[in-house]
Symmetry: none
Subunit: 240 residues, 2 copies
DNA sequence: CATAATCCTATTGTCCTACAACCCTATAAG
DNA sequence: CTTATAGGGTTGTAGGACAATAGGATTATG
């Protein structure tokens, strides 16, 4: 054995799961089809039935496969193999755009709610994050941290634990994708930092003034421009 | 064995996975902690090590647990977001309202996007979910499943993987809270089912007609009424 | 002949044992 | 003190056995 390059565990079941998934994605196995028996799969992959079972178990918990005792395992009819989020989301070039689209939906409204509900303490936390953005030299990773913290502080101001969690999760996704795609000439950075800080300051001011409409406007402007700076253009969707 | 009521498979590994997850949610196992050995877990749960391995395998593929060969299995440090969540969400009485507030923000816009972007296949899936809601007798758990599937189908229609994931996650939260708070006289159920189906049908029709504004309206109506039926009143927030 | 009951077989679900791969610690050697 | 070395413990994989179940084939039965 020992096929892996790095010092990580081989994760044989993962590999087998991928190969089965591949069969499904490439439509050699279609929804409703029955998979070969576990023993047959084990033989053909050259592993034990145990490994095959763990692989199938994962696909089953992702809803891609359904098993019936005494009959066999079947490709689920609703099998959209799109749950393998992190893996393919980062590979897909449109992922960044999708991420920003969701951020726009969520954070624009969050800004509006924060403008209405924020406590003085939450406003202070927002101001601190803004100060940290201003204080960071060279906009290294510290700047990104402060930026993300600012957005989390806005979410905090809504008083809604679910929104806070969702924004927090998306922020981490943003961080990951930023790390992946950070290939930007240093020269441009100076101006971008100025603009970015100004956008955040506008959001802060609107929330401080308890002006929901202005807060939503400011957040909308910021997210759309941020996406644009990364080369993505978000649709402007009308609202209810 | 044989504890399950229906004729379905016992799904022992699922049950074990839930019990391990419970230990984590209730903070008897904290991030970074090492789990008992597989053999110890097998003994304490009265199952074979094989079942424990499958259970851990699922938790691992969900990023909740990390295993290191020769050392042990550990509660992931980043496992928190989805988990810590359940614990406090269920405890807080205002959680349901917060959940519906986020659903409103997210799913209303998702309906609008789906009306614009959905493919014929995605529309067909939406119709299927609606039919399943109509076909369910007595609105037992099957009805809830169909309901949640409908909302997932709407999210699918946006073509945005992040939105799909977020809605899917929130749907599970809804399911959990519904199971917790299901204490409603059977007599009322009949009418409620009729109304609920009608609301969903309106959403479907608007998406079928590719009418974003109407889709958003229909979804907004549905979510606000659904919250109201559970005793919560959502604020109507103005939009950008 | 039609139909129902029964057996047979294939497949998944679970259990068990054994060993390989690996990590950590303790102990010995330099 | 530093570095090998040995040992024990844990996860990863292999392989065999049986239970549980479903579906088809066979046989009994009217």
């Amino acid at each position: 054995m020992k096929i892996d390059a790095l010092g990580r565990t081989p994760q044989l079941p993962s590999r087998i799961a991928s190969r089965i998934l591949q069969e499904i994605v490439e439509e050699r196995l279609k929804p409703g089809d029955r998979l070969p028996t576990e023993q047959a799969l084990a033989d053909s992959f050259g592993v034990s039935r145990n490994v095959v079972r763990e692989a199938i178990s994962r696909l089953r918990s992702d809803g891609i496969i359904q098993s019936r005792q005494g009959v066999g395992a079947f490709v689920a009819r609703t099998a959209a193999p799109t749950l393998r989020f992190d893996a393919e989301a980062l590979a897909d070039p449109s992922a960044f755009q999708a991420l920003f689209e969701l951020r726009a939906i969520l954070e624009i409204r969050a800004a509006g709610l924060a403008a209405r509900r924020r406590t003085p303490e939450q406003l202070a936390a927002l101001a601190r994050a803004l100060d940290r953005m201003r204080g960071t030299e060279k906009w290294a990773s510290g700047g990104v941290d402060a930026d993300l913290d600012f957005h989390k502080a806005v979410a905090e101001g809504t008083g809604n634990a679910y929104i806070r969690m969702a924004v927090s999760f998306l922020s981490e996704q943003v961080r990951v994708t930023i790390m992946e795609t950070r290939a930007r000439p240093e020269a441009e950075l100076g101006d971008i930092v100025e603009v970015t800080i100004a956008e955040h300051a506008a959001i802060h001011d609107a929330i401080a003034a308890r002006d929901p409409a202005r807060a939503q406007d400011a957040m909308a402007t910021h997210i759309h421009l941020a996406a644009l700076r990364l080369g993505y253009r978000l649709e402007l969707t009308e609202q209810v």
